[in-house]
């Protein structure tokens, strides 16, 4: 039976009227006229009428030509999506009008062009899509966009932001934004995050950033540097946190006033974006854990790069060091980061650290492991020389680490 078919169902001694939605676990799900869904035996249904064409005439949203031009590139995040309750599928709502309807208030901030780059769940993101994304953003900025918003699922949003940070040297704001609570709920954070990211995208910022709730309150969004941010909670609105530095700015709500810190890279109006989108995909990442078998490291044989999240200042057990050395000798660039997430790697304090350095491991400074991973892909996409790669990894390119460590936590 087709979704939307008008049916009656002989049930509980009466005829229930409703709309057939779908089959689930052997039951027919029908929406009663009261709005409630129930699951009943499919044999009780009889068809009254075929599905009605329920497409409500959706209003066109007027764009104000006097406002700055922004581009929205969608990768399939929930921020502007709509769930089709009949099929359970997420439908793409990605024309400019769809997004302006989903986030009322955007049309007062800027005029928008919108592009659907992908409609995927965040965990299905790939380096190949990062490359297309960086290219699209670059094209939009070259095309006159004052800023670009990238809507993205939150789970791997920070990876994408870091990847684009390295692939694209941008003179204009590139703002990654998502929502933690689905767009179909009245309490969704998509409106506040969406409006705040638009405000950030027309601001004086000139780098890749992530704009999300700053606290559980609806009072301000934080602007995080794209290479310094991490999702730190599965479900809270303020899951995104900056590491090793304060957020580079805030957007107050509902005023949408943008405040940038001294650290924030500023907009460079007369500069063209520079794209270097090649990535080496043969790069891995692994976490060291007590009792780890060296086999795990051996499995990365043939990889051009490997990021290890070591313990504390950046350590692994002695047997693992031997395997790492074999990898390095075979030409793999191995970068050490820390599971601590906060703080800098230093392999010169303890013996195992010195052994790691002797084996040829590159210290990852204060880079977050996933940032080091993305950076290593990019670096190895730019050079085949392992020494040059090691030098680039130890050089801050997009503010991914500082020379001196942050005085806070």
């Amino acid at each position: 039976m087709e979704s939307g078919t008008q049916v009656t169902c002989r049930y509980a001694g009466t005829d229930l009227e409703g709309t057939y939605i779908t089959d689930r676990d052997g039951k027919a799900v029908i929406k009663l006229n009261s709005g409630y869904n129930i699951g009943v035996d499919p044999s009780c249904l009889s068809v009254v009428a075929p599905p009605e064409a329920t497409e409500a005439g959706e209003m066109a949203v007027e764009q104000n030509a006097s406002l700055p031009q922004l581009s929205i590139i969608s990768t399939g995040g929930t921020i502007a999506s709509r769930v089709d309750y009949r099929t359970g599928a997420v439908t793409s709502q990605f024309t400019a009008d769809d997004i302006l309807r989903a986030i009322p208030g955007l049309a007062d901030i800027a005029q928008f062009r919108a592009e659907v780059l992908a409609t995927i769940l965040s965990e299905n993101m790939t380096p190949a899509i990062w490359q297309t994304l960086a290219e699209s953003i670059c094209a939009e900025i070259k095309n006159g966009a004052e800023g670009v918003m990238v809507t993205h699922g939150t789970d791997t949003l920070a990876y994408s932001a870091a990847a684009v940070s390295f692939m694209l040297d941008t003179p204009a704001p590139v703002i990654f934004v998502g929502s933690q609570r689905s767009a179909d709920r009245p309490s969704s954070d998509n409106v506040m995050n969406g409006l705040a990211s638009a405000a950030a995208a027309i601001s004086d910022l000139g780098e890749v950033a992530v704009v999300m709730h700053g606290s559980t309150n609806d009072d301000a969004c934080a602007i995080h540097r794209g290479t310094r941010v991490r999702k730190m909670h599965t479900s809270r609105r303020d899951a995104f946190q900056s590491f090793g530095m304060e957020p580079i700015g805030t957007v107050a709500y509902p005023s949408l006033d943008v405040t940038l810190s001294g650290d924030a890279v500023r907009r460079r109006p007369d500069t063209e974006p520079v794209l270097a989108a090649t990535l080496e995909e043969k790069v891995g990442m692994t976490t060291f854990y007590p009792g780890m078998s060296p086999d795990v490291v051996d499995a990365f044989a043939g990889y051009r790069g490997l990021v290890v999240c070591g313990t504390g200042l950046g350590h692994t057990s002695a047997p693992v060091i031997a395997s790492l050395k074999a990898l390095i000798d075979a030409g793999t660039v191995v970068v050490m980061t820390s599971q601590c997430l906060n703080g800098r790697v230093c392999d010169r304090v303890y013996d195992t650290g010195r052994d790691l350095l002797a084996a040829g491991v590159v210290e990852g400074e204060e880079m977050l492991p996933e940032v080091a991973y993305v950076k290593l892909m990019w670096v190895l996409g730019q050079t085949t020389d392992t020494e040059e790669a090691a030098r680039l990894m130890a050089t801050p390119l997009r503010g991914e680490f500082g020379r001196c460590s942050y005085n806070g936590f």
Partner: protein, 611 residues
């Protein structure tokens, strides 16, 4: 005021919302306890906005709540979690709550839903952090012994409780509620009361529903033939339910009369409104003087009707004011009530002139910021035009004593969409068949009368008491029903009235005490002072020793010997026949502090030595 309800075509139905006394909330594992607001451990604030339903519409009730965007504050506790904060997906539907809801359904002969689907019902008045209330239809079509039909039972999550203004407390959010909806089968106010009372009794019979004010709330749906369906929310006291129905009928009758009068006058509502701010630049009215903008609209032919009472304390003007308040204004003035509130007769004349009002017209004015005033005038015009139609369909809230005020339009099905985060729950026939039904309190009261010989009123009081479970336990442990009932109802009530904290007495201690009284270890007269000591936190043994020290076997023997010695002649004359009379004397002497069996045994022994 009473009406001929049959003639008016009164139809009423009720929705009863009953909090269930489960260990955990409906969609998280937090306890279902209410807290003092002073105990809150966190506070946060959020905005809500209406979203488009799966059918592509915004619900009309939700749209109206959106007219003013306001921040809602929430108090969090150490007994609430991220689910209440709307920061974590819900846990699976609480099986204890579902079982209870289905048990209630079975008690009314309903058919369970084979697969229960949790829905989201849009509510953006701030009472739910998510902006929706989770609710699931669990059973359909039952009936009461008196014939009224039960349409459905839904299992819902309780909303957050308003602390004040737009601040809510999260302790109540998520407590399971059974929502029982009757068909519109009641035709008199009394019938509504009786059905509500019966369902209340049935719910209490499960012994697993919350007790106390606010734990059961009735929404009443009322219409008369010439009126329209109106839902009055939140009637917390059964005693007010008849009055609510009576007053709503009165309101609908009055609104129909006003409509007829308006139509006969050829009344209409002016399309344009007037900025009359300048007129009141020197006014003595504090409200008007403060306002940035004052707008007025002329209602042609409405003179005298806006000020007409339609319910005790309520006028057509109050209804317009309710609508206007949705825009954030404090209220309105109309010429049916002016001059008053510091507005002079001269100002009224000038006002009427400014808007071109004639003798039959009523002018309504609103004062606030320009934005709010513009919105409010629109709402006033809307409500005034509705008066030409008669009774608008709407959701109303109950005011003290049974009148009501406008809340929002009746919501439609557009406010319901599936809760995609909770999996459907199957309900099999075997599961439903296996549910054990509790004894109805009405049947239990009859049984207490029949089997235990309690007086009818005492039996009824006992089954409705919170201590009914204690009573049953005491009786099962050999305590006579009258002793148990009188102690648990009468004695406790008296002590409580005298200021003893009887709620602090553990049930087990009460039963223990009753058992000791029954076996003669403690005198009946000692019950009140012992309970008083228990209420002060004393251990039961300590309490009894202090108030009514128990008597050792040897002491009993000594009392018996002394008694026999005093009645030496009588004993020698009567022989073992003296046993009965002496028993009474000894019992009196010991004031019930020793077990009758022990006394009888020792008395027999001592008499045997002499006879």
């Amino acid at each position: 005021m009473d009406f001929e309800y049959a003639k008016l075509g009164l139809k009423a139905g009720i929705e009863i919302h009953q909090q269930l006394d489960t260990a955990e909330k409906l969609f998280c594992h937090c306890p279902t306890v209410l807290r003092d607001v002073e105990e809150h451990t966190g506070e946060f604030f959020r905005y809500l906005r209406a979203t488009v339903s799966e059918m592509g519409e915004i619900d009309r009730a939700a749209r109206e709540e959106m007219m003013v965007m306001r921040p809602f504050s929430y108090y969090a506790y150490d007994t609430t979690c991220l689910v209440e904060n709307d920061e974590e997906p819900p846990a699976p539907l609480n099986p204890e709550a579902l079982e209870l809801a289905l048990t209630i359904a079975k008690m009314m002969g309903m058919t369970p839903v084979e697969q229960v689907h949790v829905m989201r019902k849009l509510v953006i008045d701030g009472s739910n952090t998510s902006g929706f209330q989770r609710t699931a239809l669990v059973s359909l079509n039952g009936s009461l012994p008196t014939g009224e039909r039960i349409e459905s039972i839904c299992l819902e999550e309780e909303a957050a409780q308003r602390v004040e203004g737009d601040t809510f407390s999260l302790d109540r959010l998520g407590i399971p509620l059974a929502e029982i909806t009757t068909a519109p089968d009641m035709h008199t106010p009394k019938a509504v009361h009786d059905v509500a009372a019966y369902i209340g009794m049935l719910l209490r019979s499960t012994m697993k529903v919350k007790r106390g004010i606010g734990t059961i709330r009735q929404d009443v749906n009322i219409s008369i033939a010439a009126g329209a369906r109106v839902e009055i929310k939140g009637v917390q006291e059964l005693r007010l339910i008849e009055e609510v129905v009576r007053r709503e009928v009165q309101r609908q009758v009055s609104l129909v009369e006003i409509r007829d009068e308006l139509l006969s006058r050829g009344a209409s509502v002016d399309e344009e409104s007037h900025d009359v701010t300048a007129l009141f630049s020197d006014t003595g009215s504090a409200i008007l003087k403060r306002a940035k903008a004052i707008h007025a609209v002329c209602l042609r032919g409405y003179d005298g009707l806006v000020g007409r009472e339609i319910q005790p304390g309520r006028r057509l003007g109050s209804e317009m004011s309710d609508y206007a308040k949705k825009c954030g204004v404090g209220g309105l003035f109309h010429t049916d009530e002016l001059p008053a509130y510091g507005v002079t007769a001269e100002e009224v004349t000038a006002l009427k002139e400014a808007v071109g009002a004639g003798e039959n017209d009523c002018v309504v004015l609103v004062a606030d910021t320009k934005k709010k005033v513009t919105c409010a005038i629109g709402q006033i015009r809307r409500r005034a035009e509705m008066a030409l139609e008669g009774v608008p369909e709407e959701t109303r809230k109950m005011l003290e004593e049974g009148s009501s005020a406008y809340m929002r339009p009746l919501p439609g099905a557009a406010r319901m969409y599936p809760e995609t985060d909770v999996l459907p729950v199957p309900v099999t026939g075997a599961y439903y068949d296996a549910l054990v039904l509790p004894e109805l309190l009405s049947a239990k009261a009859e049984r207490y009368e029949r089997e235990m010989g309690l007086a009818a009123s005492l039996a009824r009081q006992m089954v409705y008491s919170r201590r009914c479970g204690l009573f049953e336990e005491a009786v099962s442990r050999g305590v006579k029903s009258a002793l148990a009932a009188n102690t648990l109802l009468g004695t406790l009530k008296e002590l409580s009235r005298d200021g003893a904290n009887v709620a602090a007495v553990p049930g087990e201690a009460l039963i223990d005490l009753l058992v000791r009284v029954e076996t003669g270890a403690v005198a009946k007269e000692a019950i009140p002072p012992v309970i008083r000591a228990l209420a002060e936190g004393q251990d039961i043994d300590v309490a009894i020793n202090t108030v009514a020290p128990s008597v050792s076997r040897e002491e009993v023997r000594a009392v018996i010997c002394a008694t026999i010695a005093e009645r030496d002649a009588f004993v020698r004359e009567q022989g073992m026949r003296a046993m009965g009379p002496l028993m009474g004397v000894v019992m009196k002497e010991l004031r019930g502090r020793a077990d009758g069996k022990v006394i009888s045994e020792l008395l027999k022994e001592e008499l045997g030595k002499i006879v």
